[in-house]
Amino acid sequence: MKICITSEGKTLDSKVDPRFGRCQYFIFFDMDAGSFEVQENTSAQFQGGAGIQSGQFVVSKGVQAVLTGNVGPNAHQVLSAAGISIMTGVSGTVKDVIAAYKKGELKAASGPSVGSHFGMPSKNK
């Protein structure tokens, strides 16, 4: 099975990006093969609807779970419609959170963790 981790960089040593829709990179980790693929998030700069586009992209990759810091309401709606479990409140390196996920230490969130436009640069930087 495959999971998706939002990341600030391109390697497993990178930090988890606290935003879903506007994260810098998506890391798709294959739990069985132990291999991964990195994709830059082309939706990060959208004025609106970044979470919706990011959500559809992640769904198209056929993942079972998303590990990230926060998910907004629109992205949450898209990911849950596809039956993907969403683990929010995740931080540290990508490698560490994958390990935590394997051990079953992460819990799925039942709702969005932040409001709309949480990941907009002007709001948090």
Partner: protein
């Protein structure tokens, strides 16, 4: 002639200027296009004679016809539709986000299955009325609605070309402001002599230059703060149309919903002079 009253920064006195200019001139039409918080009526107290609900068009998907091809998502410039294709025999899903929709209709037009219909969604109310010789129109956006430009456009459909029209615009420099001031012959920018006032004035000036609307500045609370706004206007040849001092009495009238000129009629001449200055400047 259409004169809009705008400002980059909020709370500088747009409504005070717009309302008192209208009352000073008399037989004008007044449009409150600050539909997110239309407060001119607090001062004008117009007699409301009619109203009309305002709608936008949003897509409604017939999932029996939808094949989850994603064409609608591709053409949507605002990411208002998500399509999740079905897999392994499972049916797909389509999600519509009405708050992101701008009502362009492309999704419905391009749907190869004819599965998308446009339906009306109520976003607010337009009220019309009068106050003595003044014709009054304002829009009120429903609470929770995020898209004000469609309502502003619908308020502006009431523009009476036989009258001088005063438009009270929303604050800022984004879509609602541009929608409100577009088509104006002149725009009055209200500001205050503070670093905040100057910063947002510069942004508003850049917007008006871009959309090619002539403008001038009113400095409100002109005797406090610093000289930044005066210097900026001087350096950039921007006419200062009026300076209104910081006056406790004006603040008091405002807080009671009383128009300035009712208790301070000496301002009537000032507003009339300014209007003449603007019309003369435009015909020159």
């Amino acid at each position: 002639m259409i004169i809009s009253v705008a400002s980059g920064k909020g709370g500088t006195g747009k409504t005070t200027i717009a309302v008192n200019l209208a009352l000073s001139l008399g037989s004008v039409q007044f449009l409150d296009c600050d539909v997110e918080e239309p407060n001119a009526q607090i001062f004008l107290k117009a007699r409301i004679t009619g109203d009309k609900k305002a709608f936008v068009l949003v897509p409604k998907v017939d999932e029996d016809k939808c094949i989850y091809c994603g064409q609608c998502r591709e053409v949507c410039a605002y990411n208002a539709i998500a399509v999740l294709p079905g897999s392994g025999g499972a049916k797909g899903k389509i999600l519509v986000f009405p708050y992101l929709c701008h009502g362009c209709g492309a999704c419905s037009l391009f749907c190869p299955q004819g599965a998308i219909k446009e339906v009306h969604k109520e976003i607010g109310l337009i009220e019309v009325g009068d106050k003595d010789e003044i014709q009054f129109v304002h829009g009120r956006l429903n609470i929770g609605e995020t898209m004000s430009p469609p309502l502003i456009r619908q308020v502006k459909e009431y523009i009476n070309p036989t009258r001088t029209v005063i438009i009270d615009a929303p604050p800022g420099t984004s879509c609602p402001v541009i929608t409100a001031v577009k088509g104006s012959d002149f725009c009055i920018l209200v500001t205050e002599p503070t670093p905040f006032g100057l910063n947002d004035l510069i942004l508003a000036v850049e917007v008006l230059k871009k959309i090619e609307i002539p403008f001038g500045v009113i400095i409100n609370r002109a005797d406090i703060g610093d000289h930044g706004v005066e210097l900026y206007c001087q350096e950039n040849n921007i006419p200062i149309l009026m300076r209104i001092p910081f006056d406790r009495e004006i603040a008091k009238l405002y807080s009671n919903g009383t128009p300035l000129i009712v208790k301070k009629p000496e301002y009537i001449a000032q507003f009339k002079d300014m209007f003449n200055l603007i019309t003369k400047g435009l015909s020159a």
